[in-house]
């Protein structure tokens, strides 16, 4: 070849090579993915013939791209088509994604091989040759880092010949798409911080299965975390937490439901049956939003904002002292104090015992508080009284009080229950004895709340940890104070009546408040778990009483004790086996009618929606945050709130009465209490039209207080 022709040959080769490099091809490869533009045209390219295009992505191991709702982070893959004139292209038919957790966050996307197909409608019919299809695709591919990538693709589709080389791939992709769910009714309702989904008409094979929920719209629900789901017949209910920073308020929420072993799933459309609360309540909004900063508190309890640490400590001290008068604590304490009369001369011993008791009480309160704060710091929705929201704890407390009562009545003596060495050890270490009595006193005090505790405890959990623990320690100090005073001032001890037979009678009489507390705890358990759990608990208590008598009775001999003891143990085991399931499991779902009717006193169940709707109508709202295990709440319900005058007043002002029942754990109510700067019940909140925020009434309600609070509200016509 001559030199010139070689030169032109190289030039021509370079030009062709250059052009080939510049022109997009069907494949784009990166270190993370291999992406390819593929087509499926089994009958050639013509109007009316099926035509599918798609982007095939092969991910390197552990790399993933995202679904149309990428989840907490990420971006969905986008496709931009350049097609011959007049051609129409549909939207991406996304296959059902998988959940991709990353730390505390959740994404929805794909790994491995993925095809994102689109349906295409061609127009016109080119006689021969081929048509060119171009695509600009962008995707975000992530593993532990994210890389935004993109590519330009181009393929030529022969008009006459079939393009079916990827038929299998397109078929697999179609099978991996969620099917449309004809015949299902799906609805969603906002309840506090949750979205309650109800779907009926799902395939019968799905009933009772665990379903996964994928929302197609971002910015509505929390993606991480498992929703609580349940089946009732053929209706599936799920409670999904709403996004704390929700940015969307759709009327329709499309979603995909997947069951194990059936990858494609169903696509459902959830229709919203309630209004969305304002996504971001702000100070300038015309309606007083629930989360407003100003919370006015009635005069009796000091304004929460102004309550200093000193104030909280003082209230805690008073509250603790008042706890001694509660039926839970009074018997234990009074018997203990009376015992001083027997040891009035042993000043030092008494004083040490008093100190040990105080230490036991304070340490127990601090330990309970530390547990509460630790759980709250970990993210739990808990408030004071949280221990009583759990049926097993209520049952255990009932057991404790029953045993104490039986011991006081004389059914058994613990001295006979425990080996002699223990009794001797107890006598040798009276300080340890007193310390344990302190711990026990806190355990029995927990079901009772006293006035002043609500405000100081609500403030305490918002304080820095050491200050909060100090408030609880002061509460313990207040509770131990009477005992400490008597043990430290022998004059007080000597003022107590001389010991005598009356002490035995007194001891027996004190058993009855204990049993009364058991009755109340059994009622609380009944509220939480139903009548079956009540029967189970009562059977358990009976078996325990029998066992305690068998092992600890004064009059039985060794053989009697062994025989009856074995029998009693058998009975106890049988009762446990029968009672435990009803105590532990959630009660059967109560069928809820569509529209909830007010109860016989005119109270409706509380929900944030109801409050806002009423306020929008200019109506006054009175919310009673209560729980079955809260003594003060029940007291108010039976006295002040049951008064004819109060009922008439509330009716005259057309006040909407809402009851927030916190007997069982309820995150929505806990969150609302937190917003009102309280951690326990009772809380009485009055929302008057025109006021910036709710007015919190005193924990022990009085008719006069309700009258004055409502005085500003006009009578309804």
């Amino acid at each position: 070849m001559t030199r010139i022709s070689k030169f032109f040959l190289i030039l021509w080769a370079a030009a062709v090579g250059g052009a080939a490099a510049a022109a997009p091809s069907a494949v784009v490869s990166t270190p993370q993915v291999r992406a390819e533009l593929v087509a499926h045209a089994p009958e050639g390219v013509a109007a009316g013939k099926p035509l599918w295009l798609g982007l095939k992505i092969d991910h390197q191991p552990h790399w993933h791209t995202y679904w149309k709702n990428p989840g907490d982070s990420g971006l969905p893959t986008t496709l931009e088509w350049t097609l011959p004139a007049g051609w129409q292209v549909g939207s991406i038919q996304w296959p059902t994604p998988q959940r991709l957790p990353i730390g505390p966050l959740m994404n929805y996307g794909y790994e491995g091989t993925l095809l994102l197909p689109v349906a295409v409608t061609a127009v016109g019919a080119a006689a021969d040759g081929s048509v060119q299809v171009r695509l600009r695709a962008e995707w975000l591919v992530c593993k532990d880092v994210c890389i935004p990538e993109g590519g330009d693709f181009s393929i030529e589709l022969p008009v006459q010949a079939a393009t079916a080389g990827h038929a299998g791939l397109f078929a697999t992709a179609r099978a991996a798409q969620p099917q449309s769910a004809a015949g299902t009714q799906a609805s969603a309702a906002v309840e506090g911080n949750q979205l309650v989904l109800k779907v009926a008409g799902l395939p019968p094979a799905w009933q009772g299965q665990r379903l996964q929920f994928f929302p197609e719209l971002p910015g509505v629900v929390q993606n991480a975390g498992e929703p609580t789901t349940s089946w009732s017949g053929n209706e599936w209910t799920a409670r999904v937490a709403l996004d704390a920073q929700r940015s969307e308020s759709p009327a329709l929420l499309p979603a995909v439901l997947v069951t194990a072993g059936q990858n494609a799933g169903l696509q459902i459309e959830l229709k919203l049956t309630t209004a969305w609360p304002p996504a971001a309540p702000s100070a300038a909004a015309p309606l007083p939003a629930l989360g407003d900063a100003q919370v006015t508190v009635a005069d009796a309890s000091p304004p929460v904002g102004a309550l200093t640490l000193g104030g909280a400590l003082l209230l805690a001290l008073l509250g603790g002292a008042l706890l001694n008068l509660m039926p839970c604590v009074f018997p234990v304490l009074s018997l203990k104090v009376l015992a001083f009369a027997q040891h009035a001369d042993d000043r030092r011993g008494l004083w040490l015992g008093g100190l040990a008791y105080t230490a036991g009480v304070v340490m127990s309160f601090v330990a309970l508080a530390a547990l509460l704060l630790a759980l709250r710091a970990g993210g739990e929705q808990l408030g004071w009284g949280f221990q009583l929201q759990s049926p097993p704890v209520v049952a255990l407390l009932a057991v404790l009080f029953t045993l104490i009562g039986l011991n006081l009545v004389g059914v058994f003596e613990v001295g006979h229950l425990l080996p002699g060495r223990w009794a001797a050890a107890r006598a040798r270490h009276p300080a340890a004895d007193a310390w344990l009595t302190g711990v026990l006193a806190v355990a029995v005090a927990s079901p009772c709340t006293a006035p002043f505790m609500g405000a100081s405890l609500g403030l305490a959990v918002a304080l820095p940890t050491w200050q909060a623990l100090l408030v609880f320690a002061t509460l313990g100090l207040g509770m131990a104070l009477p005992y400490l005073l008597v043990s430290g001032w022998p004059a007080l001890a000597r003022a107590l009546p001389r010991p005598g037979v009356w002490m035995l009678h007194f001891k027996t009489v004190m058993a009855f408040p204990m049993f009364a507390t058991v009755v109340w705890l059994v009622w609380v358990l009944g509220q939480q778990q139903g009548i079956d759990a009540v029967a189970g608990l009562l059977a358990l208590l009976l078996a325990l009483a029998f066992l305690a008598w068998a092992l600890g009775s004064r009059s039985l001999g060794l053989r009697g004790r062994r025989g009856f003891g074995a029998l009693a143990l058998g009975v106890l085991v049988a009762c446990l086996a029968w009672a435990l399931p009803s105590l532990r499991d959630a009660p059967a779902a109560i069928a809820q009618a569509g529209a909830v009717e007010p109860d016989k006193d005119g109270w409706l169940p509380w929900s944030a929606q109801r409050v806002e709707q009423a306020q929008a109508q200019g109506r006054t709202v009175f919310v009673d945050f209560t729980a079955a295990w809260c003594v003060t709440c029940q007291l108010n319900k039976k006295t002040t709130l049951a008064q004819a005058e109060v009922k008439a007043l509330l009716a005259a002002k057309n006040v909407l009465l809402l009851r927030a029942d916190w007997t069982r754990r309820d995150p929505a109510i806990t969150a609302e209490l937190s917003r009102l700067k309280r951690t326990g019940v009772p809380v009485y909140a009055l929302y008057t039209p025109g006021a910036a925020g709710p007015k919190l009434l005193n924990e022990i309600l009085s008719v006069a207080e309700i009258r004055s609070a409502l005085s500003a509200v006009a009578d309804s016509t």
């Binding site: 982070s73 971006l75 730390g103 505390p104 966050l105 994404n107 962008e138 975000l140 992530c142 532990d144 880092v145 994210c146 935004p148 910015g219 929390q222 991480a224 975390g225 937490a241 704390a244 920073q245 929700r246 940015s247 969307e248 996504a279 971001a280 309540p281 702000s282 300038a284 909004a285 989360g291 900063a293 330990a367 309970l368 993210g379 739990e380 929705q381 808990l382 221990q387 929201q389 097993p392 704890v393 255990l396 404790l400 045993l403 104490i404 011991n407 613990v414 001295g415 223990w422 107890r426 004895d433 007193a434 344990l436 711990v439 026990l440 355990a443 001891k507 754990r665 995150p667 917003r675």
Partner: protein
């Protein structure tokens, strides 16, 4: 009377164990309109910085990670720096927060982080090293960047993305609405923020696991 003490020995630990098993998990992230969660964390110069230090001022929190292409989009185009300067000139306190775990490959030690911020000519008042992720979790920070605005009363008035064009392409910035600039204009004028909650976009925050 003596007997109740021995009962306490038997029942006390059991009660304690039962109390300890009561938990049901429910996340508790900040929400717009509520009090912004307080925090105290060390910044890149080793100083302790608390939200309470800035009571009475507007505060902007910007979640940052130099290894994320979306953060790079806003810094290489100087969009983030311009937004920072715009804010700090009006007396707003701007805190950049890096919640990347130490074991993640995107982690930068405080000195390297300072160097990067200076190299980018960022106008943040401080860069907070939230390596255990406590602040991020308290605010529910999901992406980098993720923006929050707190008003002088301590209420969270904006949470969401920096702008409304969720891409990694810097060319999209001029045509996008900068949510932070708009929200700051409104809140500094004493008005309510109209778009207070938007969807944030970016890479996920690289939280430490097991926290």
């Amino acid at each position: 009377m003596m007997s109740r003490r021995s009962l306490a020995v038997l029942i006390g630990p059991v009660l304690g164990a039962v109390l300890g098993t009561l938990a049901t998990v429910s996340a508790w992230a900040a929400s717009v309109g509520q009090a912004a969660p307080p925090f105290t964390v060390t910044d890149t110069s080793g100083k302790q910085v608390s939200l309470a230090d800035f009571k009475g001022k507007h505060v902007v929190l910007e979640w940052v990670n130099p290894g994320c292409p979306f953060v790079v989009k806003h810094y290489s185009s100087s969009n983030m720096q311009a937004t920072q300067k715009d804010a700090t000139a009006k007396g707003v306190v701007w805190l950049a927060v890096n919640s990347t775990a130490t074991e993640h490959r995107d982690f930068l030690a405080p000195a390297a982080m300072t160097q990067w911020m200076q190299g980018q000519k960022a106008a943040a008042n401080a860069t907070l090293m939230d390596t255990d992720g406590k602040v991020g979790r308290a605010y529910g920070a999901r992406t980098t960047p993720h923006m929050y605005i707190i008003n002088p009363a301590g209420t969270l008035v904006y949470a969401g993305g920096i702008d409304d064009k969720p891409t990694a392409n810097a060319a999209d910035i001029p045509g996008a609405t900068n949510h932070v600039k708009v929200a700051l204009q409104e809140t500094l004028a004493g008005k309510a923020v109209t778009t207070a909650s938007t969807k944030p976009y970016g890479c996920s925050v690289k939280y430490a696991s097991g926290a």
